[in-house]
């Protein structure tokens, strides 16, 4: 938003604000904000206040058990996040160099492949790793154990290692994109200048390349750390409740071993850390914008033998690392694996559609009172409500934000605040605030809307701001009524952004796991909840059904992602 438009609207405040050509008195402008403010007050700020009140109750704060527990959990959360970040960089940095510096066949495809996990729901990623490495997974079932083919730590990685690998799988794309972009934006002239001034390759790297990349490296590290720090689904599904990170412990203390005051305290601790990381991140991001972009891509074919070895090694590594888990999931969902109890290592396997068929049958003694496929319908229903709710709330807000006055500048950060709270924390807030009322299934889509709303607003707002007022004025001088103006000018321009925002809300709702796990009723499972329940039960059939469900979710999400990508007009995907 340029200064000029700001001044323009400021002077108009005196006469009442114009919006879409009509004159809005000040109180009407506030009316636009009323629905979204009421929504946030009741479902975000009120629950937040409950959490804060419980946390800062002296009984909670002074409880030595709570403090000891918090300390322990915070320690482990930092430990696993730091380790995951380190490993993510170990894979991400060579990959970033690989994508930024070199051209090779299939580059766009491989780059897209590395970005897929980031957009998949956590339950799908966790299921994929289970399909490959789990007790009923492809590796351990197909390859006899102990095996001369593969060492045990690959065949049977410990849950902790599995969590770390899944984090790398999830977040490597952040490093590849953030650091890779910075690398390819690095002016090759600077390196040449440094070399002609007498710097050897080490000095060039130390005095020129590294300082220029530092903001991007820090930004990527913080972002990856933040995602690993607040990771929930992956840790719970791959590690079980024995790996108590902040998120997992909040869930456990909210539902399994209820200690609501400890849960509240932990979520405040988590919120504080998240806010600190976010502020640091925004500061660093400001430094990265000053760099100039070269006019053409610096990527080229590998020339020397060393470059060729590097490129082909990273190529194969990335291909295997990213494709194998993603492929294992659908393959495992169609594979019958029945180990003969008596003879170790003897496994019969073949093609089957049993797991899918089983989803439609309501068995006595099954995990649900309904056929499992009902979870899919529940998910779709929740997703539709989420789309409608977040668009209904997001539209007027985005309209107001597209032409910001002092009121909007004050309210904008409030709208984005829910981003700082984790889904599990939202769930906890609901439990503390609404208690018994949670029997109603409507709280789940409300939680989903809270998660999706900031993204929906941020998708609609630039599209709305991009419509020049002159177009609307031109239409009305040509005789169009206000409705016709909206129909012929605003709507066509907005339809892309609206569809994109809607698809986004839909995808978020489909894959949402943390809040749903805390809020859902047993008789209204969603797909992610069904997958979690199947995975937590013994037996090959349950495992198979989890795989089948996860495959369905993967397909649905992938379709949605493709739709969003198609709808997004050359907008650069910044995180």
């Amino acid at each position: 938003m340029s200064n000029k438009t700001l001044n323009h609207t400021d002077t108009e405040t005196l006469r009442g604000e114009t919006l879409r050509g009509y004159v809005f008195p000040r109180f009407l402008r506030f009316l636009i904000w009323l629905p979204v403010l009421l929504f946030l007050l009741s479902f975000f700020f009120y629950p937040l206040s409950k959490i804060l009140a419980l946390t800062f109750d002296p009984a909670t704060l002074l409880n030595p058990n709570n403090l000891r527990n918090t300390q322990h959990v915070v320690g482990f959360t930092f430990y696993q996040a730091a380790l995951s970040t380190l490993l993510t960089f170990a894979l991400g940095i060579p990959s970033a160099v690989f994508f930024a510096k070199f051209d090779f066949p299939g580059k766009p495809l491989l780059r897209a492949l590395t970005a897929v996990p980031f957009m998949l729901p956590t339950v799908v990623v966790a299921s994929s790793f289970n399909a490959l490495f789990g007790n009923h997974g492809l590796l351990s079932s197909l390859i006899p154990n102990p095996s001369s083919l593969l060492p045990t730590f690959i065949l049977h990685p410990s849950p902790f290692i599995l969590i770390l690998i899944a984090h790398v799988f999830y977040n490597a794309t952040i490093v590849i994109r953030v650091v890779g972009n910075a690398l390819s934006r690095l002016d090759p002239k600077l390196e040449a200048a440094a070399r002609t001034l007498g710097a050897d390759s080490f000095r060039v790297w130390k005095n020129v390349t590294l300082p220029l990349l530092r903001p991007s490296l820090l930004a990527a590290a913080l972002l990856v750390f933040l995602f690993d720090f607040t990771s929930f689904g992956v840790i719970l599904l791959l590690g079980g409740s024995s790996f108590a990170t902040l998120e997992v412990e909040i869930y456990i203390r909210a539902l399994k071993l209820p200690n609501l005051s400890l849960a509240a305290m932990l979520s405040v601790v988590q919120l504080i850390f998240t806010l600190i990381f976010s502020i640091l991140y925004t500061r660093i991001i400001k430094q990265t914008t000053t760099q100039t972009a070269p006019r053409f891509s610096i990527a080229r074919r590998p020339k020397t033998l060393r470059e060729k070895i590097f490129v082909s090694t990273v190529y194969c590594l990335l291909f295997i690392f990213f494709l194998l888990p993603l492929l294992s999931l659908p393959i495992r969902s169609f594979t019958r694996l029945e180990a003969d109890r008596g003879q170790r290592g003897e496994v019969q396997y073949g093609f089957t559609t049993d797991y899918y068929e089983e989803l439609f049958i309501n068995r006595r003694g099954s995990l649900f009172y309904v056929p499992p496929i009902r979870a899919a319908f529940n998910s779709l229903g929740y997703a539709v409500i989420t789309v409608v709710l977040s668009l209904a709330l997001g539209y007027p807000t985005a309209y107001a934000l597209a032409k910001p006055t002092r009121l909007e500048k004050f309210l904008d950060p409030l709208i984005m605040l829910p981003l700082g709270a984790s889904a599990v924390m939202l769930g906890l807030g609901f439990i503390l605030s609404f208690g018994r009322a949670l029997a109603s299934p409507f709280f789940v889509p409300i939680a989903h809307t809270l998660v999706a709303l900031p993204f929906v607003i941020r998708t609609l707002q630039p599209a709305l701001a991009s419509i020049p007022e002159r177009l609307r004025q031109a239409a009305s001088t040509l005789g169009a009524s206000p409705f016709r103006v909206w129909q012929t000018v605003d709507l066509p321009i907005l339809s892309r952004a609206t569809l994109s925002a809607a698809t986004f809300a839909f995808t978020v709702s489909l894959g949402e796991f943390g809040a749903t796990l805390l809020l859902t009723r047993p008789e209204y499972p969603t797909i992610p909840i069904a997958i979690q329940r199947f995975l937590s039960q013994p037996g090959g059939l349950n495992f198979g059904q989890a795989m089948a469900m996860a495959t369905l979710l993967m397909i649905l999400t992938t379709l949605s992602i493709l739709a969003i990508e198609k709808l997004r007009l050359n907008q650069d995907g910044e995180f």
Binding site: A192, R195, T196, L197, R203, L212, T290
Partner: protein, 338 residues
């Protein structure tokens, strides 16, 4: 001092340089003039050691540089878009090469201050690169390249991004500095005025070959080829048909042919048509002055004279403006460029 011998290089499977040889003597500024994409910058990068010829030699003081890494060559390079380090301030940019060479801090301060004085940027030490104008940035880049007292300076279209008046100003400063320091220099540009303003010798690069290597006044006086005449914008290049042993016919009349080439009848040859008082023209008696009649099609005011476009596309210059449509008589010199 610097010598290039028979340099060959292909770019995307097309020959870019096809046997380029030239040398630069001590204290000499050589200007490499050529169209964009002609391989001028590639030649510079080869001298700097940032790229390598497919065949041919780069020698300095008779030593082959093929095995010498760029950072050990001691050659300064100045880029068109400056290439200043955005993360360092002006002082640290200029001091970069000195710090690499472990020059004591006290001496670095003296040297940087002296260099800033030389490029008229006194007191700019603490400024950030982003706060400077284009001209100021280029002067910092020059100071940075001069700081380690290189054995050779290279300029890759250094003034390309600057406007006219700033260019003249900087060219003067640059010539001063090059004369004082006696550092041999290669100056790459596609701007003819710039080349003539700074060069002790001019090299014309065309189609991967050096088609001319001479003092500026000689190159201007005797372009000797169609490409050279076109590149320099000397006079008008027109086609003529040989009608007899020493006569050539053009759209503007038939002229006497005085060159030493052997032309056959009906052969098409390129001719250079110039107006006589050409400043460098020495009376070597090769060419003949003739008078032709032209119809004025357009008149343009150019500083101290009028540029007249005449029928057939001929461009001449006159002190007084003729009217459009008027028939005028002009004396011209016609020279064979074959």
């Amino acid at each position: 001092m610097l010598e290039l011998r028979n340099i060959f290089k292909t770019y995307e499977n097309k020959p870019l340089l096809r046997g380029v040889s030239f040398s630069v003597a001590k204290g000499e500024t050589v200007c490499l003039l050529g169209a964009s994409g002609s391989g001028k910058s590639t030649l510079l990068r080869m001298v700097a050691g940032l790229e390598f010829p497919e065949s041919g030699l780069v020698l300095f003081d008779g030593l082959d540089l093929a095995q010498t890494a760029p950072h050990l060559r001691d050659f300064g390079l100045v880029f068109q878009d400056y290439g200043l380090f955005p993360h360092l301030n002006i002082f640290d940019n200029i001091a970069f090469g000195l710090k690499i060479r472990n020059v004591p801090a006290s001496e670095i301060h003296l040297r940087v201050a002296a260099l800033l004085g030389q490029v008229n940027l006194n007191g700019f030490e603490k400024r950030s690169v982003n706060d400077l104008s284009g001209g100021e940035q280029q002067r910092v880049a020059l100071a940075r390249a001069l700081a380690p007292q290189p054995r050779l300076l290279m300029f890759d279209e250094p003034l390309g991004a600057l406007d006219r008046s700033l260019k003249d100003d900087l060219l003067n400063q640059l010539r001063d500095i090059l004369h004082k320091t006696k550092i041999p220099a290669i100056y790459v540009t596609h701007d003819v005025d710039e080349a003539f303003a700074i060069a002790d010798r001019i090299l014309l690069l065309h189609d991967g070959e050096i088609i001319r290597d001479d003092a500026p006044e000689d190159v201007w006086a005797n372009p000797n080829s169609v490409h050279a005449a076109r590149m320099l914008g000397v006079g008008n290049v027109v086609e003529g048909v040989v009608v007899s042993a020493n006569k050539v016919k053009t759209d503007f009349g038939t002229f006497a042919l005085t060159c030493k080439h052997k032309h056959t009848k009906n052969e098409n040859i390129p001719l250079l048509i110039q107006q006589p008082p050409s400043p460098f023209r020495r009376g070597d008696g090769g060419e003949v002055e003739e008078e032709i009649q032209l119809k004025v099609e357009d008149v343009l005011f150019k500083r101290d004279q009028f540029q007249v476009k005449a029928g057939g596309g001929l461009v001449i210059h006159m002190k007084d403006a003729p009217r459009v449509g008027q028939i005028i008589c002009v004396k011209v010199r016609v020279e064979c460029l074959a």
